[in-house]
């Protein structure tokens, strides 16, 4: 991991198209601003990780799982 220290209002450029700015520092919170092309998504990592884990779990579904859905819905 590249580690840089920035002061308030200083910026970082990633590649050609992504910029990160330190917009505010209040207590233990840092407010960051992001400029990136529309196609590049920016997410809080903990949310990203939750979605990724959901995808990984969801990718394990097989035909038997869908059969069990049908059984549950037909029962009623």
């Amino acid at each position: 991991m590249l580690v840089l220290s920035r002061k308030l209002n200083e910026r970082v450029v990633i590649g050609d198209m992504i910029e990160v700015a330190v917009l505010g520092i209040i207590g233990d919170k840092v407010k960051l601003g992001f400029s990136a092309p529309k196609a590049v998504s920016v997410h809080r990592k903990e949310i990203y990780d939750i979605i990724m884990q959901q995808n990984i779990d969801a990718s394990k579904m097989d035909l038997a799982k869908l059969e069990s859905i049908i059984r549950v819905l037909k029962k009623d």
Partner: protein
């Protein structure tokens, strides 16, 4: 073209069924092409979201409007633009489904819907910035409630 899948064997698909996901899915950024397949028993609500690049990668998906009348994912303008949509109303929206050991507890990921512009054959998985929705929304009760069985719907409502 002939598509190889581990769940369904080799199946014939049309090129125009292939949807491009330039960013892949979250955690699966290298899988950039998918098709939507009907389950062989044609359970109309549930479909398969199959990777074209990886025969083993597939997801059970459902259109959340099948169970959640009020599901309104809010997309950033940047996401609408990337998908060449002028509004979410033009899109096909799906969520992945997880069926745990006890299938009654099956759930849909309402926080990370898959948004598809069918005309442009473009898609993206969006992470919504809202606390309204969760990644594990239980769907059985709502599906049963919304289905045509009036008797069943009333009995479910009473057990609430």
């Amino acid at each position: 073209m002939l598509l190889k899948t581990t769940r369904f064997g080799e199946i014939e698909i049309q090129d125009n069924e292939i949807i491009d996901f330039p960013e892949g899915l979250i955690g699966f950024s290298n899988n950039k092409k998918f098709v939507i397949l009907d389950h062989r028993q044609k359970v109309s609500s549930f479909k398969w979201f199959q990777s074209v690049d990886d025969s083993a990668l597939a997801f059970i998906i459902i259109n959340p409007n099948q169970f959640s009348v009020n599901y309104e994912p809010e997309l950033l303008k940047a996401d609408l633009d990337t998908l060449r949509l002028s509004s979410i109303n033009q899109a096909e929206v799906y969520t992945t489904v997880i069926v745990p050991e006890d299938p009654v507890k099956m759930s849909a990921n309402l926080l990370g819907p898959i948004i598809i512009n069918r005309q442009e054959r473009l898609g993206k998985q969006i992470i919504l910035s809202t606390v309204k929705y969760t990644t594990s929304h239980f769907i059985v009760e709502e599906i049963i409630h919304n289905s045509s069985g009036v008797k069943n719907a009333s009995s479910v409502a009473q057990t609430k």
